[in-house]
């Protein structure tokens, strides 16, 4: 009974921690974007990005802080989130991120510029972009197996 209670508590703690990590990631991205308007290079980057987004992408970016692009070779959908690295997700048919891709310009650029370069690369030469990119699994690690340890009787 005690073991089951402990296992359940550990699982709840695991989910709690995952939720907090996600919260921190979202808050950090929003903080940087909110303060971008007061930093000139970041603001210029966002202005340039908005100029080059399609009307649909612009509306999505304004509402969600990310926009989707279609890879020109595979027809796959990618989501580019506000950021400068590890911010491209490959989506499955249900729109769920399955794989993360990381490819960035080889010089320091602000977030808007990085996102625009990623968009153009995926829309015009997807294979070349992915050929240089590093990929990583997007789903968080599954909960660890909580094994029930039975105490030995004395």
């Amino acid at each position: 009974m005690l073991a089951i209670t402990l296992s359940s508590a550990a699982r709840r703690l695991w989910h709690f921690l995952i939720d907090r990590v996600r919260e921190v990631q979202v808050r950090r991205a929003r903080y940087w974007e909110l303060h971008a308007s007061s930093r000139e290079p970041e603001a210029r980057g966002l202005t340039l990005l908005r100029e080059w987004l399609s009307p649909e992408q612009r509306a999505q970016f304004d509402a969600e802080r990310y926009f989707d692009v279609i890879g020109c070779h595979s027809g796959k959908r990618y989501r580019i989130r506000y950021g400068t690295s590890a911010n491209v997700d490959e989506l499955d048919d249900a729109g769920v991120p399955r794989m993360g891709w990381c490819f960035v310009p080889n010089a320091y650029l602000v977030a808007g510029d990085v996102m625009l370069a990623q968009k153009i690369a995926l829309e015009t030469n997807e294979r070349a972009a992915l050929a240089v990119a590093n990929r990583f699994p997007r789903s968080l690690p599954s909960a660890p197996a909580f094994t029930v340890v039975r105490s030995r009787g004395f």
């Binding site: 970041e42 490819f103 010089a107 510029d113 990623q118």
Partner: protein, 73 residues
């Protein structure tokens, strides 16, 4: 006026030139070739709004965007 936009750490640097001015067009072509040699990618937009990558200087392009070479992050 045509424009070349080069991404950099300031956000971007914009170079406007008169497509009717032979000297200005020559300078724009020189800049285009220098950026290509430095590994930049040049992109422009079609009338329908689609983005296309270009490898040769087009004096008729109204807007050309340059971004540095992409590498794995």
């Amino acid at each position: 006026m045509a424009i070349q936009i080069v991404m950099d750490r300031t956000g971007d640097t914009r170079h406007e030139f008169d497509a009717e001015d032979i000297k200005a067009v020559a300078a724009a072509e020189r800049r285009f070739n220098e950026l290509m040699l430095a590994g930049f990618t040049a992109a422009s937009r079609t009338a329908s709004g689609d983005t296309m990558v270009t490898r040769t200087f087009d004096p008729a392009a109204e807007e050309t965007l340059f971004y540095p070479r992409l590498v794995g992050g």
